[in-house]
């Protein structure tokens, strides 16, 4: 009896297109990843506005202060503090900025405040910043899409 010989060659799929695509996806996600998000406090509900646009150029140095609905102020990953305790944080950041050659008056203070916080508190925070010679203030809001 005659037996048919089995074809024992290993079939290999061509993986090149898949790898190409995967690398392209990785490159895409790497490009859009934004590490500056670390400064943002995600639990905040920012007010909405139709007419704001993201700033065209970043300021030379910025301090982002997050104010939650309870009025506590959070800076980067530090523990949230009351308004009275915000001065050391500001002084430390002003010190860092001066090492980069940025004067206090040129530092941009970005305030990300919860939509339900008392506006007076935001104003007091700005006053506290102003006492440390910080002069440029931006109130950050979410862009509202129609």
């Amino acid at each position: 009896m005659r037996f048919k010989r089995k074809d024992t060659r290993i079939l290999e799929a061509d993986l090149t297109p898949m790898i190409d695509m995967t690398f392209q996806l990785i490159a895409f996600f790497m490009l859009i990843i934004n590490f500056s998000e670390v400064e943002k406090s995600e639990e905040l509900q920012l007010p909405l506005s139709e007419i704001v646009k993201p700033p065209e150029s970043p300021p030379p140095y910025k301090i982002t202060l997050n104010v939650d609905a309870d009025g506590l102020i959070k800076f980067k990953t530090l523990e949230a503090v009351k308004l009275e305790a915000v001065r050391p944080v500001l002084l430390s950041e002003i010190g860092v900025a001066s090492r980069f050659g940025v004067a206090a008056g040129k530092i941009s203070v970005i305030i990300r405040a919860d939509k339900n916080v008392r506006t007076g508190l935001v104003q007091e925070l700005m006053e506290a910043c102003k006492k440390e010679q910080l002069e440029q203030f931006s109130l950050r809001v979410n862009e509202q899409l129609r």
């Binding site: 993986l15 996806l25 008392r118």
Partner: protein, 175 residues
């Protein structure tokens, strides 16, 4: 003629792709999982007035400074907006309630006032030289303060173009 080495069989060199693909997929999964779709954020630039010891313009009534006073209701939502420009003074009342539509007439009143002063036919990209000075009740919810700032700052036309009205916005010192 027999060429030496001609018959030699070379081993086919194969790259091991499996570990690379594993790593690549892990990277891909990481980036996909950490990707967040978030709304874009933008800024309103605010000028704080000079320190209280220095003379401020708030006490005098100037023709190029619109003075806006936001009053909060019992539930800390906006109750009314008082606007003063020179001898003109108007008050726009809303209904202090969590429903934004009930408060909207006050913001619309403020916006129309500013539009009437600044003029709607100006170059959309350039803001007016007129200033706005805003005095806000301490307890007012921040979102209403931002809505008032938006009302004086500009508006979005139907074609999507943003028309700037007033850029120089000051907060009055908190009482």
């Amino acid at each position: 003629m027999k060429i030496r080495g001609y018959d030699k069989k070379y081993d086919e060199i194969k790259l091991q792709m499996t570990p690379m693909i594993d790593i690549v997929f892990q990277l891909l999964v990481f980036f996909i999982m950490t990707y967040k779709v978030t709304a874009m954020e933008g800024d309103y630039n605010i000028i704080m007035p000079a320190a209280a010891s220095e003379p401020t313009m708030t006490e005098e009534i100037l023709d190029d400074v619109i003075q806006v006073k936001l009053t909060a209701g019992d539930d800390r939502y906006l109750a009314s907006i008082q606007v003063t420009l020179g001898a003109r003074e108007e008050t726009f009342a809303g209904v202090s309630s969590p429903d934004k539509a009930a408060r909207q007439p006050a913001f619309d009143g403020l916006h129309n006032f500013v539009l009437g002063v600044v003029g709607g036919n100006k170059d959309p990209a350039t803001a007016s030289e007129i200033e706005a000075e805003i005095e806000i009740d301490y307890d007012l919810r921040y979102e209403d303060a931002i809505s008032a700032i938006e009302a004086v700052s500009g508006y979005k036309r139907d074609d999507g173009q943003i028309v700037k009205l007033i850029e120089k916005i000051k907060f009055r010192n908190p009482g």
